[in-house]
């Protein structure tokens, strides 16, 4: 143990995008058999670091040593050759191809029967029931994320860079997955585990590095506590607010949003939303939670108008909108925060200012724009850079700006905090809660019970396309175990 050599060393890496310094002389090393947790708030440079190690970006200064040899990766292919694989927060899959074809493409082999068997076995071991011949476009974000992770593991890498990829997996799968990563490390593999979730990092990491605005601001050994890491991540300022569920103030007796006997088919003609009815009054915040792939995504998209309703009715303030195009529903006062910020939440080719301009029916002044960016803590704060240059979490923050421009009648959000660090997550949930208090009807769809438990007035559990049970008590936390049981076993 004394004389062990690191598998990879990162030496004084410096990277700038335009005027934005993403990494400001970062050095670290990862030993075989070690899980190095890299922490930082949204936009701290974590993903940039991962992409440099994987050959996607080229550092402006500094170098990488693999097995003590100075190396420059100019493409992921070269990194892959050295046994380095990245699983990113944005699944790297070709939508038009099947799962099997995607994996074959990644491994540079043909989609043979052997590969299919290997893949099916791996998936079965992980308890994931995904048909490998399915087109990737039919998978939910979570399923894609998972396939991306499996794709890297199947190659038996030497260094696995996990960039927020496991963060959003459903609890059960995530535990299994983290276990596999740990086993991978125990067999001598190196892991760079990137996350903004402190507890998860503490659970996984052997060592910890904290980044803030491109600088390494803390290096910790196992045994470090949450507060120490949090302080390093965010500075000393106090930001955590505790949620108080305000007593229900129902301003209207009628329903702002009502869904009646809704049936929605998936790409294969199977009902993914099966006879769902629910009503949300103004001032209510209702959550629908369930394990990924149980129909929440399709329910949200059907309400927003991105997916056809096969049967049933959707009413917005007593107007039927079942067959209206999405744009019309938005004009009528519905706001939908989509699941995938990259594809639906923002237009990647436009600047932050242009994106915000599109969210608002009225003119957006420079002052308002700056105020929004400040409030949402979008980093970098320059509104005139392309959204594509922001980190994942910051892109999601831009997408959330739509919530702050009006007081909408109805808000439907799908896992809005999935990509956000603690501070932004708290902020987002408090925005949703405040919208409900000021009279919006809020429907929060989620795969993450943590996200919804503290702020919902009512909570439904969705399993196999049906809402199997509603929980409605002032103290939902006490029902947590029951809720989890229903999610898994119904």
């Amino acid at each position: 143990m004394m004389m062990r050599k690191p598998f990879i060393e990162v030496v004084e890496i410096y990277k700038k995008f335009g005027d934005v310094i993403a990494l400001n002389g970062v050095s670290l090393e990862i030993y075989p058999g070690e899980i190095l947790a890299v922490l930082g708030e949204n936009g701290s440079g974590k993903s940039t670091l991962a992409k440099i190690l994987y050959g996607l970006y080229f550092p402006d200064k500094g170098y990488i040593k693999v097995d003590d040899v100075v190396t420059v990766f100019s493409s992921p292919a070269e990194a892959k050759n050295r046994g380095i694989f990245l699983v990113s927060q944005r699944p790297q899959l070709v939508d038009d191809m099947s799962v099997l074809e995607n994996v074959a493409l990644f491994l540079n082999t043909s989609p043979s029967r052997d590969l299919k068997k290997k893949l099916e076995v791996t998936l079965r071991d992980l308890g994931m029931a995904i048909d490998v011949d399915r087109g990737v476009y039919t998978l939910s974000y979570t399923e894609k994320q998972f396939i991306d992770l499996v794709k890297a593991l199947i190659t038996q890498p030497r260094l696995l860079i996990v960039d927020e990829a496991a963060t959003y997996l459903p609890r059960e799968l995530k535990l299994k997955f983290l276990d596999i990563i740990k086993k991978f490390a125990a067999r001598g593999g190196s892991v760079m585990y990137i996350t903004h979730k402190i507890l998860e990092a503490i659970e996984m990491g052997d060592r910890f590095i904290v980044l803030r605005k491109g600088d390494v601001v803390g290096v910790f050994e196992k045994g470090v506590d949450v507060t120490t890491i949090r302080r390093a991540m965010f500075g000393s300022e106090e930001y955590l607010t505790t949620f108080k569920r305000s007593p229900k103030k129902i301003t209207h007796e009628s329903f702002a949003l009502s869904v009646e006997n809704l049936i929605v088919f998936d790409e294969h003609g199977k009902p993914s939303v099966n006879d769902v009815s629910l009503n949300v009054r103004s001032g209510e915040l209702i959550s629908i939670v369930g394990i990924a792939g149980n129909g929440q995504k399709e329910l949200g998209e059907a309400i927003a108008g991105l997916r056809k309703a096969a049967r049933g009715r959707i009413m917005l303030n007593d107007n039927e909108i079942t067959h209206a195009p999405a744009s019309e529903r938005i004009k009528k006062g519905l706001i939908y925060v989509p699941e995938d910020p990259f594809r639906e939440g923002v237009a990647m080719g436009l600047t932050v200012a242009e994106n915000v301009k599109l969210f608002s029916q009225s003119k957006v002044s420079r002052e308002l724009l700056d105020a929004l960016i400040k409030k949402l803590d979008v980093n970098p704060s320059n509104p005139f850079i392309n959204v594509a240059k922001l980190s994942g979490g910051n892109i999601q923050k831009v997408s959330l700006a739509r919530l702050l421009l009006t007081t909408p009648k109805v808000v439907v959000a799908y896992s809005p905090t999935r990509m956000l660090d603690e501070r932004s997550k708290t902020l987002t949930l408090s925005i949703l809660q405040r919208l409900a208090e000021s009279g919006s009807a809020v429907l929060l769809l989620s795969e993450d019970i943590e996200e919804v438990l503290h702020i919902s007035t009512r909570l439904g559990v969705m399993v196999s396309g049906k809402i199997v049970r509603f929980f409605e008590t002032p103290d939902l936390e006490s029902c947590r175990e029951d809720i989890e049981k229903v999610m898994v076993h119904a």
Partner: protein, 353 residues
């Protein structure tokens, strides 16, 4: 073995522009040198031909057609509307302008005639783009194919008109219409076959469309359509309406260019392939050269126009290098733009170990 890597880089906007100009100038010099070696002409002669092509006022003849068409296309392409039918829309614009000038009483009214002719030309251009847009919106039929095929229909409609009902009485059987009345022609610059009015109008159109695309909500939404249809819908703007707007504007501008060709250049309707002259296709390239930004399409159309003149100048001027070599040079100079674009976005890293 030295290791060669291609690495992305980001230059500031000014540095990018300067680098591109520099690459192009160096390329021109290289092209002139190679041509002089290949043909035995002196470098001076070739350089003069090059210089003259870029300073010849006749570039405006080509700019008057390429610029409005390419600006319209850059708007359509930004919105992911693959209108490859500018050629046909241009021909229909020409038909529209001829119709007003020859067959309506408006044709003999000064000032009103060219304006009415251009408006109707734009209208017919948009109309010719409409079926493809509707087929895409309501039946999901690929608009690139339909617009492309509609080009040839437009050619034949024009051919039918000039050989049939519209054939002129004073043209000795040639397949053209009669000349349009003087009142409906747009006055040209003395000694040239372009009009300053049109040039100014074309540049104004480019600037206006830039402001539309980058400053208005609808324009920004059009550009967002290229990133994500769902995003645009979720912002409360109808993606179908936007698609239609993009299509119709691009059709109208191609029609406008066709009208200009009749009122300024041909002064009568001629056969479809002659009116179109491939400008509708070249404009596709011009709009991409300009990076789909209407402002950059201005220099792109100038550069392309100069190459048209260069190609003729090399063949018939004192250099007389022949068709093959002249096409090679023009192709080389177009490829230079791609090289300049590449070099400003990537750098090449060579490491020896």
């Amino acid at each position: 073995m030295p290791k060669v890597a291609i690495v992305k880089r980001e230059l500031s906007k000014i540095a990018t522009a300067l680098a591109k100009v520099l690459v192009i100038l160096l390329g021109l010099l290289l092209a002139a040198t190679l041509t002089s070696i290949a043909t035995g002409n002196t470098l001076k002669l070739i350089s003069i031909t090059l210089f003259q092509s870029f300073t010849n006022l006749n570039v405006f003849v080509y700019i008057s057609t390429l610029l409005p068409t390419a600006v319209g296309l850059s708007l359509a392409f930004s919105a992911n509307a693959w209108n490859l039918g500018a050629e046909g829309q241009l021909v229909f614009g020409a038909i529209g302008a001829t119709f007003i000038a020859l067959f309506t009483p408006l044709g003999r009214q000064e000032i009103i005639a060219p304006i009415a002719a251009l408006i109707f030309a734009s209208f017919l251009g948009a109309l010719w783009a409409l079926p493809a847009a509707l087929l895409k919106m309501f039946r999901g039929i690929n608009e690139a194919l339909t617009t492309l095929l509609m080009n040839f229909i437009a050619y034949y409609v024009a051919n039918y008109l000039v050989k049939g009902p519209w054939r002129g009485r004073t043209v000795y059987g040639y397949p053209t219409t009669d000349m349009i009345p003087i009142e409906s022609r747009i006055p040209t610059a003395p000694g040239y076959s372009f009009s300053w009015y049109v040039v100014v109008a074309c540049i104004a159109i480019a600037v206006l469309l830039y402001l539309f695309l980058y400053r208005t909500r609808v324009g920004i939404a059009l550009r967002a359509l290229g990133s994500s249809i769902h995003f645009v819908e979720l912002s409360g703007l109808s993606s179908k309406k936007l698609f239609l707007i993009a299509f119709l504007i691009s059709g109208a501008l191609a029609g406008f260019a066709g009208g200009v060709k009749i009122l300024v250049y041909h002064k009568k309707l001629v056969e479809g392939p002659i009116v179109g002259g491939g400008y509708g296709f070249t404009s596709i390239m011009v709009s991409w050269l300009g990076g789909l930004n209407p402002l950059f399409v201005i220099p792109a159309s100038y550069y392309t126009a100069a190459l048209y003149i260069l190609s003729f100048g090399l063949q018939i001027g004192s250099a007389a290098v022949g068709d093959a070599l002249s096409s090679t040079i023009v192709g080389f100079l177009l490829a230079l733009i791609l090289l300049a674009d590449f070099l400003t976005r990537y750098r090449i890293v060579i490491r020896f170990r």
